[in-house]
Amino acid sequence: MIQNWLQRFFAPTLLFIWLRFRLRYNQVTHSSKLAQALGMLGIAFVACATLSVWMGGLLGGYFFTRLVGVENHFLLWDGLLLIATVSWAIHVLNEAQRGDPITFDKILHLPITPAQAFVVNYLSSLGSTVFFMTVGGFLGFILGSIFVLGWVGFLFLIPTACFLFSMTALTYWLQGWLAAVMANPRKRQTVLVAIPIVIIALVQIPVQTLNWSTDRERGKIAQQKATSPPAAEAVVESKADSVDSGVQPEAAAENVPDQNADAAAAAELSPEEAREKRKQERAERRREELARWKQAFTIANYVFPPLWTAGAVQAWTVPGLRWWLPLGTSVAMVLAGCLALRASYRSTLQYWRGEWDLGSKSKRQGSQGPVEIPKEVLANSSGRVPWIERRLPWVSEEASAVATMTWTAMLRAPEVKLYLFLPLLAPAILGMVFRKGLSSFNDYWKGLVLCGFSAFAMLVASGIAGNMFGYDRSGFRAFVLSPMDRRSLLLGRNLAYAPLIAVLTLSATFVFCLLYQVGLGMSLLAMLITLTMLGPYLLVMNWMAILTPFPIASGSVQPKHFDFGSVVLNLVLSMILPFILGVSLLPIGAQFLLGKLLPTLDGWPLGIPLSILLFVGSLWLHRTVLPHQAKLLEKREKELLRIVTSKVE
């Protein structure tokens, strides 16, 4: 029996672990010495990061627990769990799509179930910096709290492990599901629309909750003020508190003008008494605050599964709670993780076997007989000239061909579309979180923030634009084989990205301007600046694409393997990018300065002519530098071809 099990499950698992190890090992040993050295540095970094997080956890677990007291220890856990969940979510989002080290299509014809390969894939998905740091942090924290709480701390290991397992398993399932859905063209569109909405909604929940709780707090303060004249310190204190807890500061800031009057009222008491009273009040307020958080989290620890581990800690450290509850939630978490992994395994299997589409009825009907496509439909499905045949004004035929072809191919790849929408997500979320803060800024700040958002969006989009040849894969061979002037190739590529990025950033800028009532002059200026950024941005993207290409697997936006030299160079280019884009902010500064020096000119949109000048300058710059980049591309194209068509694993 045991021998049977060993043969059926254990041996293949070992085999797959060996395979995984061997793939990685060969990848490392077949790369250059520099890459190996940098790889070791990377490992050293992860080790250091893990160790320091562990230390931080240890000290935090010891000192903070002593600070807040045993009965409030679980609140620290709530914080930790939230941080862990959020960083893991960001990590997963960042991966966007799961890259399985052992793909099923290479093993499905073998006489074994791919379950073991799946398990190995899942386990290797854990091999990320975020996960190591999370585990390190938790272990340190538990150890630190053991010194305060005693042996009961060891028990925390159980729900923590269950939490980590269920969290990773659920996200693994989610990623696999996304990949499978993305493979289906009809569902693809839905997902693309749904993902940003879901993310925004998810961010909205905590934001709105916080808003709600501050509103309540404000109501309370107002009530207090009505009943008794509060001390000046109290208001300031509440302001400090709300800043601490990441809540909008202006909620409390509104009360600041009353401060002088309150201070006068307090002056009737002797200084010592006043100080004593303030101290007491502060302590009182802190107690209230703590009680409120405690109450909120006690409920959350029951209903919000990611916090169940904190619930378990609470049950074991606070008297009167049922001790068996943690065991129940731990089992539930493990069960959920197992179910998720099972579902994930099935959908992965379906995906690789191509069964994903079988459920849809129309497809089945369609496959009953060969579909006859009328000739006319094929020749021209609509009266319009298809994109791929369009001629762009002012540029060569070759550049037009490259631009229109890039458009067609790029917008068809779902992963690219998803990636291009991601840059808008972050400003949208930030904008919502700091909504109130933003509208209290003056126009100069708003303008700067808007341009910052545009620059940020461009920086994120550099994953696509800065690797424009990586996505061509074997198609890049067609470019190398082509007789076309390489300048046209670069120009065509830039002409494909420019409108896309311009439309994305300009529409975002426009919406922000409407939402936050930015003045017309500043709105125009911000848009002009965004346009000015495009020229230099695309130049840097060209350099990136020529100097630091990364091979990209079909259907993914993740580089298949890294050449560490390229990574470093890419990083350097990404870091200088903001400074280059920063030059286009000059008009805002000039307008501000002029307004300050000559107050009569204040409020006039003086930056606009300057910005138009800069825009023209950026076009000239692009035109001038492009031929040099083309020369560089000519020199490097064979090397580029080798990299973008290289296959790993």
């Binding site: 496509i373 094929l378 298809p386 791929i388 045949e389 035929e397 070759e398 037009s400 061909a401 490259v402 072809m405 067609t408 191919a409 790029m410 068809r412 790849a413 061509d472 894969r473 074997s474 198609g475 890049f476 061979r477 067609a478 190398v480 084989l481 082509s482 007789p483 076309m484 002037d485 079909s554 000519e634 020199k635 064979k638 071809l641 080798r642 068509t645």
Partner: protein
């Protein structure tokens, strides 16, 4: 494009001198001196890993040689400017093709045609005819990544022929292609050569090479071991005999006892 003849003095379509490519210490192609006359159908043969694809890559500018010179249609392929000019007259099926996953057949041909500065009606007409000839006309709305292996090969051939090249480099064009299309392609290549153009082709199917090619080169372990006309080879036996004697020296006995018991 038609005026190309006046441009070239070289009688050779392809001419290399000591063409060498190292991968690490290993010479994939070692001091190869190829001479391919214009108007010939040149079969380039060799065992797996002999260096055929590597040679084609260097001839078409996809891979830089370690040393040696390459002249294609009289142009120096190692010079960027001249190489670019030469590419105007080349049609290539590279080893792993050169397709974009997310373009349909029609779009891909349109793109290739525009790159060669053909006008759009011409591209449409030619690509319709090419797809028809290769029986891909019903698949033109499919993305290249949805194509079968053979279909991708056919599409690559269509793209190679579309600009009406002077010289075709075909790396295993018959591999994975069905019998009907294979006959059509053979006819097409014969016609193509009759017009004075040149074809450089690698294949493992010796029957096809024997029927089709006018000249043969055999490469073994990266070295060119034979280069002659088909007539000369056939005078002393079949192509297969010649190939086995030149390239099959390290062949085993071809028997596995455990498989037979």
């Amino acid at each position: 494009m038609e005026s190309i003849e006046s441009h070239h003095r070289s009688p050779f379509a392809i001419e290399t001198q000591d063409l060498t490519r190292l991968f690490g210490d290993k010479a994939a192609v070692n001091r190869v001196n190829l001479k391919v006359d214009r108007g010939t159908l040149y079969g380039f043969l060799g065992h797996n890993g002999a260096g055929k694809s590597t040679t084609i890559k260097m001839l078409t500018g996809l891979l830089a040689p370690t040393s040696g010179t390459v002249r294609v249609l009289g142009y120096d392929m190692l010079d960027t400017r001249e190489g670019l000019e030469a590419k105007r007259y080349l049609g290539v099926i590279p080893e792993n093709l050169a397709l974009f996953d997310n373009l349909t057949a029609h779009e891909y041909l349109m793109f290739v045609g525009r790159i060669h500065r053909l006008d759009i009606p011409t591209i449409k007409q030619r690509s319709d005819e090419l797809l028809e000839l290769l029986s891909l006309q019903n698949e033109r709305k499919k993305l290249a990544m949805e194509y079968s292996h053979g279909m991708r090969k056919k599409l690559s051939l269509a793209a190679a022929l579309l600009p009406k090249p002077q010289l075709l480099f075909l790396d295993e064009p018959f591999e994975g292609v069905d019998a009907v299309a294979s006959v059509a392609i053979r006819e097409l290549l014969t016609q193509f050569v009759a017009r004075g153009c040149t074809v450089f082709i690698t294949s493992h199917v010796l029957e096809i090479v024997q029927k089709l090619c006018t000249h043969v080169g055999i490469i073994s372990q990266g070295e060119l071991v034979l280069q002659s006309s088909m007539g000369e080879i056939l005078a002393n036996g079949s192509l297969e005999d010649k190939f086995l004697s030149m390239a099959g020296s390290q062949q085993g006995s071809g028997r596995l006892e455990w498989l037979e018991s």
